[in-house]
Amino acid sequence: MMYSSKVMEKFRDTKNYGKIENADGIGKVGNAKCGDVMWIYLKIEDEKIVDAKFETFGCVAAIATSTTAIDMVLGKSVEEAYHLTNKAVIEALDGLPPEKIHCSVLAEEGIKAAIEDYRKKLATS
């Protein structure tokens, strides 16, 4: 297998997946045509991420990066979370095969999209 054991462990870790009803921010990124779709749900209180979940249609790397990104933003401030990089996600997973780097980009984008959704809602509420 081309994946690190960290990736496989995260892939099988189920604690972060699911939906959050009435989430404060939802990020929907990816494209089913390309084989990867990631939805990120954030629950935010006082500009702090108090809960986060994902739903992902995609490969091992897509699922592992989703759950890892959630781990990395949980408990963080929105501002901090917005600066999560795909590089940090890759490092937390002990690396990814070159052809799977785009999955980590998707995770970064998913978090950012959810935060932007949250900020937009704030601005219009």
């Binding site: 297998m1 496989m8 929907k28 045509k33 084989g35 992902t56 249609f57 995609g58 490969c59």
Partner: protein
């Protein structure tokens, strides 16, 4: 055959049958001589090659003189294509194949397209079948080669080769078939099919890797692709891979003897898997033809989830499976075969190929049916597309 507990990927490759390996062993270190050498011992290597050629010829109902050994199925496919275009380029520059061929054919076509050849990829219907009238319509005065695969590696669909070859011959065009997935599984009779050239690969029929067969009617003339010391009647140079040739010969001999019984044993196992999946997993698609199909192959799309994730979960449970073809597993694109059938990208991404073989048991099948539904459910719970109720 013990390091994989549940191997369901026989279309990717097969273990070398122990009887095949046993036949090969004397030709590594004892009877190692170069078959082209003069001395007595080289004669044993030559005799062994002759015997292998006869066994392969018998399997295909061919004349031994029509059998050439190559380095594999891919090389044989390439030899058919490049051997014809190199020789008949002056006659025409149009070549035809189907949209669901193995990369060994499709990538050769892509390369030739870049080199100025005109290429036609025949469409297939939703079962993966080429329509003979499509072939008829696509033929031009400049057509010099038609190559259509016998059995598809991903979905198992069997093409109407006899009919297609007849259309080619009516126009005086050479017809080749990639029979890598057909030979050894079903009877393949080159006389009945009336193909000009045919390719297959040893490691798909319980022979060793690195050896293949190219069949060519004696009256068909093509250019070689590999030049040198005149081996294989001048069509494929290079010191003969004697153990490999002995191996594919033995594998051919065994296939001829055992194929019919294997079909009787394997077909019900495959059907049981199909039935079980249909019963136990909602929202699935069975891909490929229901009837004109290899008896060992089942291709199913588990909608709303992605193939690699399924493979990884199943691997964790001890199952070796594939999604699309083995050799494109590194690629991110969904199977070109499933897209050609008209599947949506999402469904093509979620495909699983289950291919059975010699060492699968009823127990393997039952265990697969116990495990797969849970894996599908697990991944679907994670999917944004799955409607959780």
């Amino acid at each position: 055959m013990n390091s994989t507990k549940y191997y369901f990927d026989y279309n990717a490759t097969t273990p070398t049958d122990s009887r095949v390996l046993e036949a090969m062993l004397p030709f590594f270190s004892d009877n190692f001589h170069n078959p082209s050498s003069f001395y007595r011992q080289a004669g044993d290597a030559r005799d062994a090659i002759d015997k292998a050629r006869e066994n392969v010829a018998k399997l295909l109902n061919a004349d031994p003189k029509e059998i050439y050994f190559t380095g594999g199925g891919t090389e044989s496919d390439n030899l058919a294509i490049f051997g014809v275009v190199s020789r008949y380029r002056e006659k025409g520059n149009h070549i035809i194949t189907s949209a669901i061929e193995h990369p060994a054919v499709l990538k050769s076509f892509e390369f030739l397209a870049k080199k100025g050849f005109e290429t036609t990829l025949l469409p297939v219907d939703k079962y993966g079948l080429v329509d003979p009238s499509d072939l008829e319509k696509s033929i031009k005065d400049s057509t010099i080669l038609i190559t259509v695969m016998h059995a598809n590696n991903e979905i198992g669909t069997l093409q109407p080769i006899t009919q297609l070859a007849k259309i080619a011959h009516k126009k005086g065009i050479y017809f080749h078939t990639d029979a890598v997935q057909a030979v050894g599984k079903i009877p393949v009779d080159v006389k009945a099919l009336d193909v000009d050239m045919l390719s297959f690969s040893s490691h798909k029929i319980y022979g060793p890797k690195g050896i293949g067969v190219f069949y060519k009617k004696n009256k068909v003339k093509i250019d070689p692709m590999i030049f040198g010391g005149g081996h294989e009647n001048g069509l494929r140079a290079g010191t003969e891979n004697v153990p490999g040739i002995v191996g594919i010969g033995k594998a051919a001999e065994l296939a001829l003897l055992e194929m019919a019984d294997e079909e009787k044993r394997i077909r019900p196992l495959r059907d049981k898997i199909q039935k079980g999946i249909i019963e136990r997993i909602p929202e699935i698609l069975i891909n490929g033809d229901t009837d004109q199909k290899l008896y060992n192959t089942l291709n199913v799309s588990l909608r709303y989830i992605e193939g690699e994730a399924i493979l990884a979960m199943m691997d964790h449970e001890g199952f070796s499976l594939s999604s699309g073809s083995a050799c494109s597993s590194k690629s991110l694109d969904p199977s070109h075969v499933l897209l050609a059938l008209g599947l949506k990208h999402e469904d093509a991404h979620g495909s699983l190929r289950i291919s059975l073989g010699k060492y699968n048991t009823e127990d393997d099948v039952d265990h697969l049916l116990d495990v797969l539904p849970g894996v599908a459910a697990h991944l679907r719970r994670m999917s944004p597309f799955w409607d959780k109720k």
